[in-house]
């Protein structure tokens, strides 16, 4: 698993071949569907016991033991401020372990993530209108419009997982 290199082939050449398929792991944040390319995902698991970590931003839920690796668990709903008021995280949540270049992070999600395959051509680069909606647009690879309606927001983990991004407090430095 660790061998999976996140530096995928240059996206331009991929776009030249319209038939190419992309596999995503899709999960819900707030009331929206988000996806991550499957090659950036290490595993999906029921969230292990999370130990609170002092001196970290609130969206870092803490650290957990994932098969001997100690990883940080992140709540993206809180990070992107997507959590509807009065809807706490359920008792049993799931963790998508994603791999950055040299470490692993856990993204905590409320429902079982599901795999989803779609042609690469369906993912459109992020349009302008989301740019002022929240800080998350910086981390978008694009938006997939599904034939049956609905959209999946595709996140680019490589942008999200740089240590400075992870530790950045929500709202702070969003314009930088």
């Amino acid at each position: 698993m660790a061998e999976i290199e996140l530096a995928a082939p240059a996206p331009k050449s991929e776009r030249a071949k319209p038939a190419e398929l992309v596999q995503l792991i899709v999960f819900r944040l707030g009331d929206e569907d988000y996806g991550i390319r499957i090659e950036q995902v290490k595993e999906v698991t029921v969230t292990p016991e999370v130990a609170r970590m002092p001196k970290t931003p609130p969206f870092i839920k803490g650290i957990a033991n994932l098969r001997g690796d100690i990883i940080a668990i992140i709540d993206l709903e809180e990070r992107f401020r997507l959590r509807p008021a009065g809807r706490p995280l359920p008792e049993r949540s799931y963790t998508v372990a994603v791999e950055a270049a040299d470490y692993t992070l856990g993204l905590m999600v409320r429902e079982v993530p599901r795999p989803f395959t779609l042609p690469l051509s369906q993912i459109e680069p992020a349009p302008e209108f989301v740019q002022d909606s929240s800080t998350r647009d910086k981390y978008l690879e694009g938006i997939a419009k599904l034939p049956e309606g609905g959209i999946i927001i595709v996140l680019d983990m490589r942008k999200l997982l740089t240590p400075s991004e992870v530790m950045r407090l929500p709202g702070k430095g969003a314009s930088s």
């Binding site: 130990a51 970590m53 002092p54 970290t56 650290i63 033991n65 470490y103």
Partner: protein, 546 residues
């Protein structure tokens, strides 16, 4: 345990056999191609190294043969001789002789006589024809039948040992978990197996730790040269005495403290010791004494740098600390020597210029401190004005396993390395008073500030801690007194869990920037437990005290 002699002999053997194999290889290459420059250079170098090693070990005959061959290869390299004719036979005989001599050293036998060979080599060097008889040919054939030998020593990359140690760490964690489960399930067969596993993994752990140990000598032996050089620059007379080179310590720990030790030794020569003139004036012997020693104390290794120089001028440090705003004049006046010396380890605290007595002693001492902190070690200072200074590095023998005290705050366990813990106290409210907004208790006739660990860990923001209120202290308080840089701090916790050995895993990115934690460990229950970094906690408290 092996004596140093034995250890050196084994190292010498391993290297010598390796040299010998390389020599044979390069000779064959040279025989095929007499102009092979690289092979010639290599042979010259190998002879030179073997000569130096053999002479250092006292195997003069071996060194002599290597020396002659080195000279001869030098001549060939400079095109004064060619690798041809009878010279080839003598050289091969020479290398074979080296082989038998090395084997004789390994078997602890007297070295074979090499006078005939040496004479022949001398003749070649002088440009005369060697005297050869037919017997030697037979010898060479015998040699070729005996050459296949493998060294008893294996060189291994430290990286591989690191990996092994990490794996053992994981194993120990799982072992503890299985042990806990077996006790809970109370199945006799499972318990017996778990206990067996316990013993085996214990042995394995110590074997791996043992494989990583080296003599402190490998580092100390580099210092005579350093001391000589610094003393020459400073124009001082210094006599260096070393002891305890046999003391065993983890190789990586030695690596981490290399710079720190270099710093202390350089400082001791250039700033601790006086010039010959000053020493004579002070009624001391003209030659400054510098002692580098290593010893074991319980599970720790102590490395001491002692000089009989001018010592630390405590009052000057006290004044400087006030000047630098590190403390108030009033507070400074009450501090004892050790508390004052602790300022020397503050980043950028330099005594240069202002106080020539100990000039420069502060430069970089914070670096020494940081190196020790990263290991969970300690730095002790003893000094007497005009008599000398001793710096003692207290180091763990191994980085793998550390003793720790587990405490609980808000139903979560935290581990505190024993190296930094002083004592645990159960205090009644009557034993606690409030001084300047800080809870304080008396311990060993010293007032120790108390702070709830919960506040240090979880209070948000950079502002000072809230003023302590005596009315908030209800019932007995569980206090863990920690010690860093001679500063005591009482951490108020919910309860004490137990003492146990832990394997510390470093925090991975992106959380490794939070310096309050030295890492994490997994408890037998599988629970994640943060390991508190006492130096960072102490600094946080000092920054936030109201």
């Amino acid at each position: 345990m092996k004596t140093r002699d034995q250890e050196y002999r084994e190292l010498f053997m391993a290297e010598a056999l390796e040299y010998y194999d390389s020599m044979s290889r390069h000779l064959s290459e040279l025989e095929r191609n007499p102009d092979a420059g690289p092979a010639l250079n290599e042979l010259f170098r190998l002879m030179h190294n073997l000569k130096a090693n053999a002479r250092a070990m006292g195997f003069t005959d071996l060194g002599e043969v290597a020396h002659h061959l080195e000279t001869l290869f030098g001549l060939i390299r400079d095109h004064e001789r060619t690798f041809s004719g009878p010279l080839i036979r003598v050289v091969f005989a020479g290398v074979d002789a080296l082989g038998s001599m090395i084997r004789a050293v390994g078997a602890n036998q007297p070295l074979p006589d090499a006078s005939a060979l040496l004479e022949n080599l001398d003749r070649l060097v002088r440009g005369e024809a060697p005297v050869l008889d037919d017997e030697e040919t037979i010898d060479t054939e015998e040699e070729s039948n005996r050459k296949m030998e493998l060294s008893d020593l294996v060189y291994i990359q430290v990286k591989k040992l690191d990996n092994l140690l990490n794996l053992v760490g994981e194993l120990v964690i799982d072992r503890d978990r299985i042990m806990t489960l077996a006790q809970e399930l109370d199945n006799p067969a499972l318990l017996a197996t778990a206990q067996h596993l316990f013993r085996i993994s214990d042995d394995l752990q110590y074997s791996v730790m043992d494989a990583r140990l080296v003599g402190v000598g490998v580092l100390l032996n580099k210092f005579p040269r350093v001391v000589r050089d610094v003393a020459a620059v400073e124009d001082k007379q210094v006599e260096l005495t070393m002891s305890g080179q046999d003391v065993q310590i983890d190789r990586n720990i030695l690596q981490i403290i290399t710079d720190a030790l270099l710093h202390l030794v350089r400082n001791a020569v250039s700033h601790g010791l006086e010039t010959t003139e000053q020493r004579l004036k002070a009624g001391k012997s003209p030659v400054g004494q510098l002692t580098l020693s290593a010893l074991t104390e319980r599970d720790d290794v102590l490395i001491q740098v002692r000089d009989d120089g001018r010592g630390i001028d405590t009052e000057a440090v006290r004044r400087k600390a006030v000047e630098r705003g590190l403390t108030t004049a009033k507070a400074a006046a009450t501090l004892d020597e050790h508390a004052v010396w602790a300022f020397l380890f503050e980043p950028g605290f330099s005594m240069a210029q202002q106080v020539t007595d100990i000039s420069g002693r502060g430069v970089g001492l914070d670096v020494v401190k940081l190196a020790l902190d990263s290991l969970g070690g300690q730095l002790r200072v003893e000094s007497q004005l005009g008599v000398g200074t001793t710096f003692t590095l207290v180091l763990p023998t191994s980085i793998a396993v550390k003793g720790a005290l587990l405490v609980e705050v808000d139903e979560r366990p935290y581990a505190v390395p024993l190296l930094h813990t002083d004592t645990v106290l159960a205090l009644h409210p009557g034993q606690i008073s409030v001084v300047g907004g800080v809870l304080v208790t008396q311990f060993h006739e010293q007032s120790v500030p108390l702070v709830p660990l919960r506040q240090l860990l979880y209070d948000e923001g950079d502002g000072p801690l809230p003023l302590a209120d005596k009315n908030d202290v209800n019932g007995p308080q569980h206090v863990l007194v920690v010690n860093y840089n001679n500063r005591r701090l009482g951490l108020v916790v919910d309860r004490f869990l137990r003492q146990q050995n832990i394997v510390i895993k470093p925090l991975s990115k992106p959380l490794d920037t939070i310096d309050l934690f030295g890492g994490v460990t997994l408890l037998g229950s599988g629970q994640v437990c943060l390991v508190l970094d006492v130096p960072a906690l102490t600094r946080l408290f000092l920054n936030k005290r109201p």
